[in-house]
Assembly symmetry: C2
Homo-oligomer: 458 residues x 2
Amino acid sequence: MPEPTTITAAAGFIRSGELTPSELLEQCFKRIDRYEDRVQAWAYLDRDGACEQAVRLTSELKAGQNRGPLHGIPIGIKDIIDVFDMPTGCGSKLWANSYARHDATVVERLRQAGAIIIGKTVTTTFASFDPPKTRNPWNLDRTPGGSSSGSAAAVACGMCLGALASQTGGSITRPASYCGVYSIKPTHGRVSVNGVMPLAPSLDHVGAMANCVRDLAILLQPLARTNDDWRDSPPVPYHYESELKNELYHDRRRRLSLLPGFPAIADQDMTTAVATLRKLTDCSLGERTETNRWEWNELPLPPSFSDVPRFQHLVMAVEAAAYHADRMRRHPDDYPPKVRQLIEKGLNTPAPEYVHAKELLEHYREESEPAFVDGWRTYLTPATTGPAPSAETTGNPAFNSPWSYCGLPTVSLPFAWTADGLPLAVQLTGERWCEDDLLMVAAMLEADIAFERRPLPL
Amino acid sequence: MPEPTTITAAAGFIRSGELTPSELLEQCFKRIDRYEDRVQAWAYLDRDGACEQAVRLTSELKAGQNRGPLHGIPIGIKDIIDVFDMPTGCGSKLWANSYARHDATVVERLRQAGAIIIGKTVTTTFASFDPPKTRNPWNLDRTPGGSSSGSAAAVACGMCLGALASQTGGSITRPASYCGVYSIKPTHGRVSVNGVMPLAPSLDHVGAMANCVRDLAILLQPLARTNDDWRDSPPVPYHYESELKNELYHDRRRRLSLLPGFPAIADQDMTTAVATLRKLTDCSLGERTETNRWEWNELPLPPSFSDVPRFQHLVMAVEAAAYHADRMRRHPDDYPPKVRQLIEKGLNTPAPEYVHAKELLEHYREESEPAFVDGWRTYLTPATTGPAPSAETTGNPAFNSPWSYCGLPTVSLPFAWTADGLPLAVQLTGERWCEDDLLMVAAMLEADIAFERRPLPL
């Protein structure tokens, strides 16, 4: 029996009848049994419910109904997102038994697309920076990153084939990168946050993690909002996955813009790995000629950039405080140090500073657009400062939070291993609402990098 | 220090400075301490939070800010309605610790109006028919009615001066009547159900209970939706309470229409009491002449009426099943017999019967309108079949569910005592969206009945 680790492969086997949803789910459960004690990716697991869903979806297939590439695919949901009849714990002690009465919009959409919701993945408390119980599957002494810690670790272990995650600073890209999985943070507003605990609504994004770029396209398809009352977003322009399938993109010019000085704190491992990537792919450096040629460029940072990291953190702190302050006063024990610190920072911020930060945010959103000159539609930056640090932290979101701030879509993909066996990832940033183009570039880069997945050391 | 039992009186004392919100709250807590052991009206109490709110609202007054007649008034919220940082238990074991992340819209509106939210009042499980722990304060062997059991009992005991309740069949009017308090069930759609656990969305209403008609107007004011995306409803036409204050209504003709045969199951106590009420107020019977004269009329039931009770129950069963069936299968222990029976009925109903019931509902909504001929704009019916029955049941909603079905607004008011000291109430029904007129008629009737409140026997 095949044991696929990507949604794309699993969907193929399910379509051909080589694998049923129930069999695929069983494989995920076996990996959970094997790894969960050490990795602790799950806040809540619903094995019985998942089995039921798998049986129903298997029957649908027997009756000739296939809902598409997510039909029968086991998915994990970050524990700040409501799933009917599961608690939405948000990493809080007091909310550990707070059962959701409804699916969040994104969960409802995944179910309609045939996904099997198997449980809730661990989040840092209130999606902030306090290290959770989850460990990095590549090295149990390291952090999986945060705040979408469980989603990244679960996908890395194959406990589920995809997961929902969320990002306000670097909470999708960072854990995905530390755990060696792929991630997408769509344009701010592309995906509904209805039924998702807010951290800072101006900056909150729901996104996804999986084990290849095409899987990200498959997951984005049902998540991308069509008509929704929450926020204006253009209609979904493409069938993201079909765009990749038709492979027209092979004719596209392969151009990547670097952003020197963004924010210039990558460690030696990361700096070397990105330089090697450039060397291997840059046609002007003579290593490649006909196919797989990439042109590299260096673009200046938007003028407002230097203030961005500070102001991103300020907006996050103030909006988190607006949501949590009253509750934190009432339940101080439910707030571990880092989220407490964040909220206290928000509480101590004079309101005019917040107004300035929001003005800069608008300004920066505008300034970050014109940089995408014709044919140079993608930034490439490190996804993190380096490999996963110790489990006493959740790592540094410095490479991610500027993209959360301006709301541009990003995709991250693993591309190298450190000497001690930890994955490294790069982050691609595209134009607002152009997830289709961004995924195409990411798929081309993925194909050319030919990143080699390794077996887990556990 | 004054000890007001109505919002109207309390607001007067707060305005004049004779009473502070903190002192008023303290009075409510004392009554809770005195009665709660026996009555058990509360699913959750937040004394500290309530005290904090009272302190803040007392300070506002000292600074010259008065939010209006709800400023500093202690209010209870039925436990199917979300209140931030309190569990929404819905009478379910599994949801007993399901903390709400947001206020329901109605709670938010009450807070803005200055109300102090002191806790969650007991509901029957999932707002259905299984007797809850709450007892009738007039006789502990009797039911307080359901499903808004705790709201009615708490207001009757003065544990709070008003409460939110909800009705799908007879869940506001019935408990209010059994407990001797006043209630309003506004037009279906007048009040938002956002953040309220549904029982049957076609029929669910949020309403209020208090200790006089004017208090109902005061409570309805912030609850009545102005602009909301959920459902079309006309803008709030009046300031409900001002309408009562200006007392222009004394010039209004006092006309009440009886509905013989609706549904003709009142017991002897109730039948006699209504006959006496008519005799005392009917000018044509010669008892009254100049002022306080009421004209009485008898109108035929709408032609579709005979099917209404059956179809109301069917719609309720089917929609409850749609919401609960999956959950009940997964957690059978969380479903006591009567709600289980309701859901099973829904599950066993062929869908075309539901379609017929919904068609009848529309039809009946239309037919129930023309009966309001000029100057005869109010139906009077018994509010219940009789006084509160034993605590092994929650009583019969037969006099209420037809009004839940057609969505017309109702107000109930106590008007007599039985020989063994239980209150009886009548129910007034008005035209769609005309809560202002209905409250005016109710206030006139209240004044003329001069119902005597008795001290609680506890």
